[in-house]
Structures are given as structure tokens and as C-alpha cells.
Symmetry: C2
């Protein structure tokens, strides 16, 4: 579970910046017609035809966003790309290109960075995106990744956070809270390992939750489904900070309130069991845990029949007049005002 | 000269991530028609019409790329943008949008970050670019900035590193070595300050060099000039790592050699005097210093008359057969093979 102690280590100082870029990107071939020029010049070049370009960027910092004591480097590379792709899917668009900047201290060998790029390459393959640029640098201490993503879609299909209207259905893909439950397991095992490095825990019963934390996927399949069902959501966001926080974002941008039904929020039984083991309310994990990278969106009620029995989609509520605010309604009919306790990075430290 | 000890300090933890983004970007209005959607959704949206989009990204890390003991925060914000814009001008294109990600530790107040954004805003104004997105985060220790830039130009005007042909003229804008000389002055003053904090040095005679280091500009004017003179360079790169390194890049990408004439390399007299004070060869500062953000390009000889007397442009050599390699030719006619001793970040630490 812990970082691979690779026996073959190449010092970065023996390589130089330019050859590092060459080395890391040599197996990345451009696949998309819209990727006109990749790594190796002052700028990369893309052309999305007559359609607009979408762009998003994320910064991932060791000790803040990830912990290398349980995050394998290949998974880190994979996840760094996924979280960015998710931002483009959340606009109902398709990511096409990424740029990756990486800064590492000298405690990282070439082989370690190569592992990160193997994860990046796998994400590029699975989601059909091209690596077209980036930057490499030393860091003072830890590892820093900065990823930018470019995507495209015909203008009339773009879905923003703004656009939900009263009575629209509120829908979520997949299930929630798993990534947070997985994090609890990993943090506990890290603590156990620190006390007893020879412990050999059986983590197989947690594998779903651990995978949700270490190797999340972006919901490209849902965007494909919208196309197939001829649905354009009225508003959409991806769930990176927890359901509460994302509902409040849609509410603020769309100027509507929301009713959420507690017993509709999709939580996998394994997540519930794991949460109970940690004396956590599974609903809290779903509402405030974050990092699930599912899609939260609103659709006009006329589309109800198209999605009502879909195994990957759950209707969890509906939009209301903004005056009602955002309310979560318990099984007994009690209304509780929704507040964001999502992952707010500055309040944490 | 040292970091402003601002009397009014607002703790970042009192603000939260979402309000920080709102706060920092509230005065940035979109100016370009191609900026369709800015800060506030999962992705930003741009549309460069029928022209391709250029994209570049840079990571700037405290303690590696800048030293806050002599770099005012507003200048840091300005320079972070300039170095990115320069990468787009180096393709003969115009930057239109930027995304800025910032990570800071709690030793930074809101007012400090605001100063950085004032510099970013000034660069946006001076170069007519829009801030359309980014990310904010805490860092474990220092300040990290990641900037991505998008630009555009008609496809037939794009200039790459590849494209120089034998006998093309090698031309550089402005003068070289100033940023490196400025760095020497600032490092010396930092050392003096550490010994005697009450010293009041007169730095006025170094102001040109210090400005080259702390507040560089990108050569938009040269791109405008190409348009006016109807010149499309055959290859181009910006000088971020030092002239040697950039000549070698053009050579490698274009598969040509170069002859550079030592006595043609433009060095400001103030830079020469400052270098001599530090017992540095001014030529070394020009060849290996870096951070001048001038443009280095090749043009067909037929364009000689258009540029020969231009005050901002200097012909410093010409392209040769690749078999000759890259040679610098001294005033006495001696040939010395050019080697890159530019800023290679991994070999430094």
C-alpha cells in the first residue's frame, strides 16, 4: 500500500529540464484532430473548429490535496487528470487536451515521476485526451501538480451552473460518500502502519471505498447518455466538494431554491457499513465528504420518463422558489436548511 | 525594498475559498469578444472564431523562481503574467485570456494576495487579456503561482521554433543580460540588508537592470511591427533561459546551425558597467543569464532592408548548415562552440 521503493533510481539533476520533458512525453502521441501542435514549442496549438473551447485548471499540492504515504504515484497522476476532465464534463462538453506542470524536490527520482506520467497516460487513453504541454520545475519541498484541460462542444449544448428553473428535477449520477469513506480507511491504516510497519491489513472489504478515493473516474458515460437520450440538463456541476456545497452553487448561480429528499440520496451499502464502522453518519459523508466526482444536474420535468429507471441516475429532489432556500427533507418530513461544510481549503489549516 | 508589512491584515481562514475567488476577481471585467464565460463555473469558455487557439502554462514557486525579500508582490503578479504572454507572442500570436491558480500558506494575508492580483490586473490591462479562471488553495509553506494563457492568430501567421533555413538572418529584439545584472544587484542588497537592516542604498544607477528583473515586459510591440512590416519570421522563441539556450532550441527544431557574432549581441552600456562591477563578463550575462523575455527569431534575407535600421532589432548572426553546429564568432574571428548554460532548474539544486 505504501509508496514503491523503486530499486532503480535516476537522479533528476543528471537529466536537465529539457530532456526531462522529452523523456516524460515521448510516449504520448496526439490522437485528436484538434491537437495541432503538442509539447516542444513556446505554446501548444489547438483548433476546435466552429465550436467554443472550454478550459479549466486545478492545482494539486502534496500535504494539502494528497498524501503519498498511501497514494500510489500512478494513481496520483491518474486522479490529477480525472478531477480536471470532470470539470469539462460538468459543462456537458468533451475534454480533448491537457497541459501538466509538475514541480518536484530532489527526493523524487526519475522513476517516481515516470510512475506519475504512467497514470497520466492511462487517463489520456481512457478518456481520449492529448497531453499537449506543461512545465517542469524543482520545488522547495513536496510535489506540486498543476493541470489545465481544454475541451469543446457545440455552443447550444453547453450547460452551466446557471439555468435551473423552478420545478426542475435535481438528479445525481452514481453514489456518494464513497471517496470520503475510503479516505477514513486509508488514514486509519496509515496510523496503524506508523505504529506497526509489519502489519498486513486485509483491506479487501473496503476496496470499493478505497478505489473511489484513489482512482476516481469522471462521468464521460453520463455525457454520452445525455446525447443518446437527447437531454440537455438545465444546469450542472461536478461533485468535488460534497453534495451540500454543489447544491448551494447551483442554487446561487440559477437563483432557485432546492428540496432534497434525504432518503433518495444514493449511498452504496458498503459505504454505509464503512461509515458506521467509523461512527460517521453516511449522509454526512455524502453531503460533506467530497471527491466523488459524480455529476449533479437539473432537468426539465418533461424528461422524467427518459431517466426514471436508469441505474446510474437518481432523482434526489427538485428546484423551488429561491425564497425557500435549500432544504433537506428527512424521512419524517422535517426540513433542515442545507449548509456547505464541504472542503474549503483555507478554513482547514 | 522589502516586502510591505501591511498594517491591515485579514486572515484567509476568515474568508473561505469561494469568497476568495469572488473577492480577487471582482474587478476583472471581460474585454475580449472571444472570452465567452469567465470565472465562476466548472470551466471557462473561449471562442477564437476560425483561428486556432494557442496555449501555454508556467509554474512559479517561491524560493525557486522568485524571492519575496526583494520582489514586491504586485511586481510578482505582473511578472507571472508577462512570462506567459511572452510564450504566445513567441508564436507570432496575441494572448487573449489567462487562468491563474494560486496557493499560499497562512503567513499571507488577504491584503498580500490582493497586491499580487493588482499586478495581474495591470498586466491584463496593459496587454488586453482577460482573466477567465483559476484555482485557489493553501500551500504547505511558500507561495505557488500557476498561470495558463490562451491566444490566437490566423493559422498562416503562426511561427514555430522549427522553420529557420540556411542563410536566414538571426535577429534579437531589445538588449540582453539586464535581468541577470539586476538579479546580482538585488542579491547583493539582500545580503547587505541581512547584515545591516538600516542601510539605505542608492540603487538609482541600477534602476534599468532592476526593472528588467522585477518588471519585465513582453514584446507585443515586435509582433505589431511584424504585422506593419509584413514580415513573418521563419522561426521564433522568447529568451527566458539565456541567448545560448534559445539559439540551440532553434537549431535543434529547425535543423540548422548558427553563426553568432559576439560584437553584434546587444548589451546596454548600463548592463555592461553593472556586470563589470560584479566582475562578470557582460557577454556571459547575455548568453546565459536569462529572464530578458526578448524575442529571438530568424527571417529570410529578402526582409533585410525592412529591419536593418530598426532601433529595437539587431541582426546578430545567420543560419548555417546544421553540420557546422552553433558557433559564436569573436571580434578576432575565433569560433567558439555554443553550449547551453541557461537556467536549467534541476541542475541548480
Amino acid at each position: 500500500m505504501l509508496e514503491d521503493k523503486n530499486p532503480s533510481k535516476t537522479e533528476l539533476r543528471d537529466l536537465g529540464e529539457f530532456s526531462l520533458i522529452d523523456y516524460l512525453t515521448k510516449d504520448f502521441k496526439l490522437k485528436n484532430d484538434s491537437s495541432l501542435l503538442g509539447v516542444g514549442d513556446d505554446s501548444a496549438i489547438v483548433k476546435h473548429g466552429k465550436n467554443p473551447s472550454l478550459i479549466s485548471t486545478d492545482l494539486l499540492i502534496e500535504g494539502i490535496h494528497f498524501d503519498l504515504s498511501y497514494m500510489p504515484l500512478k494513481h496520483l497522476g491518474y486522479k490529477a487528470i480525472i478531477v480536471n476532465l470532470s470539470d469539462v464534463y460538468a459543462m456537458n462538453a468533451y475534454p480533448k487536451q491537457i497541459l501538466v506542470s509538475i514541480a518536484v524536490s530532489n527526493r523524487f527520482s526519475l522513476e517516481a515521476i515516470d510512475e506519475i506520467y504512467k497514470g497520466i497516460q492511462l487517463a489520456c487513453k481512457n478518456y481520449n485526451v492529448d497531453l499537449i504541454g506543461g512545465d517542469t520545475s524543482t520545488s522547495v519541498t513536496g510535489l506540486i501538480l498543476s493541470v489545465s484541460v481544454l475541451g469543446t462542444v457545440p455552443k447550444n449544448k453547453i450547460v452551466k451552473r446557471k439555468g435551473a428553473r423552478e420545478n426542475d428535477l435535481l438528479v445525481v449520477s452514481g453514489d456518494l460518500g464513497g471517496a470520503f469513506a475510503g479516505l477514513q480507511v486509508l488514514e486509519r491504516e496509515k496510523a496503524v502502519f506508523n505504529v506497526n510497519p509489519s502489519s498486513q491489513p486485509d483491506l479487501s472489504k473496503y476496496s470499493y471505498c478505497i478505489e473511489r478515493q484513489l482512482k476516481p473516474e469522471a462521468r464521460k458515460d453520463i455525457i454520452d447518455l445525455f446525447e443518446e437520450l437527447e437531454i440537455i440538463p438545465t444546469s450542472m456541476i461536478d461533485i468535488s466538494d460534497g453534495l451540500s456545497s454543489e447544491v448551494l452553487h447551483l442554487s446561487k448561480a440559477s437563483e432557485v431554491g432546492f428540496h432534497l429528499f434525504e432518503d433518495k440520496i444514493p449511498i452504496d451499502p458498503i459505504v454505509s457499513i464503512t461509515c458506521e464502522e467509523f461512527k460517521l453518519n453516511p449522509l454526512t459523508a455524502a453531503l460533506n465528504g467530497g471527491e466523488d466526482y459524480e455529476l449533479l444536474f437539473t432537468i426539465n420535468q418533461k424528461n422524467f420518463n427518459k431517466i426514471k429507471d436508469h441505474p446510474y441516475l437518481t432523482i434526489i429532489g427538485h428546484a423551488t422558489d429561491i425564497k425557500n432556500g435549500c432544504q433537506i427533507i428527512s424521512g419524517l418530513g422535517q426540513q433542515i436548511e442545507l449548509t456547505a461544510q464541504g472542503w474549503e481549503s483555507f478554513s482547514k489549516k
